[in-house]
Symmetry: C2
Subunit: 217 residues, 2 copies
């Protein structure tokens, strides 16, 4: 497998002054840092953008939803764009024009397929749990046939994809640096709050280690 991804639309989608990145390492790192994604599909000739949770296994990206979901069915075997974005900071410049944000984002294009096999579906959905909470799945009530039937699972190979990002400081016009205007960067982070145990937890059940292993951003 090649280290670089095929590039078609993406090169033309680049904004001025932004660099596209097409190496797998960069793309994988961004996908792995943020489970929230936005999947764009076309329904009735109109674009629809649905927020959902994605996870990656090797060179495939997965997402799931209700079997009754029209948007999931509208995404199967047709073109989608799955985008993951992380806001890293606000960039305050000396002109409005050079204000910006620091961010990391990935767009993955392709035609997802549905995973119908119940055993494969069960295994993959267990991997979703473990991708968020390492080791949690083995201790859960096992997936029932009804659970599997109610869940639709889509898979997309990461073949046509690109990452875009901005980091670092302010970039102003050279003549603007002499102005008495405060410029700088305000970082943004996703942070986890203190876990809130379900009031119906059994009295002897302790909070497992994986609750503190959630990694986001």
């Amino acid at each position: 497998m090649s280290d670089s991804l095929t590039v078609t639309e993406q090169t033309r989608l680049r904004r001025a002054h932004e660099r596209g990145h097409f190496d797998r390492e960069t793309i994988y790192a961004i996908l792995d840092a943020m489970p929230l994604c936005h999947v764009g599909c076309v329904m009735n000739d109109k674009p629809v953008v649905i927020p959902t949770i994605q996870w990656r296994e090797g060179n495939h990206i997965y997402w799931h939803g209700s079997s009754a979901s029209r948007s999931l069915r509208a995404s199967e075997n047709t073109n989608v764009c799955l985008t993951v974005s992380i806001l890293d900071g606000f960039v305050l410049a000396r002109s409005g024009f050079h204000h910006s944000v620091n961010y990391r984002s990935v767009m993955v294009f392709g035609q997802p397929t549905q995973i119908d096999d119940p055993d494969e579906k069960t295994a993959k959905l267990g991997n979703l749990i473990d991708s968020l909470y390492p080791g949690r799945n083995a201790g859960l009530r096992a997936m029932s046939a009804q659970d599997a039937k109610a869940t639709a699972l889509l898979s997309l190979p990461i073949e046509e994809a690109s990452a875009k990002m901005r980091d670092g400081g302010v970039k102003d016009e050279e003549e603007d640096y002499g102005l008495p205007i405060w410029a700088g960067v305000v970082p943004v982070r996703q942070t986890l709050g203190e876990p809130i145990p379900d009031p119906r937890n059994l009295p002897d059940v302790e909070m497992p280690e994986h609750v503190h292993k959630i990694s986001i951003g």
Copy 2:
């Protein structure tokens, strides 16, 4: 103007067990809480989902980009879906099936128009700055004709829109509450880091109040 929004696609897009909200107050609050949005458009018959910054003025939503941006031009006077999503927490249940996330999201559908008038464009882009950093725009180097020319600005009335959200605790199958499995919610928040002043700030320039007034999430 009616208090409720027209509803077409959205009712059918609802996932099982999720409630759609169509009151303006709910929709406005989510849009105002998160400048990062994802705009879906169709380019060459394929969906494309672009992360960008949105802001709201009254019943219109705005976003901007480079005048050279193909995706902005592909969004003008044609159908788009603009989605704003905020991840509020991870919900850990006793079965994989009932794991979930807490979130707030809004989808706005419609056909954006471009604002070409330079004065209107300048005013609106100043409002973008002030929406993020209250009062900042008046102190900046004024927008040049070149800045305005390089920037494309889109406007979309919030007429066809819906909010979806999940909050609260774990919802398990009744028979699963007896299992010795830890369940609970791990909150997620967007937090601001300590501002990093540009090393080229003039020595007598102090950090303005609005740097601490950024509100996100």
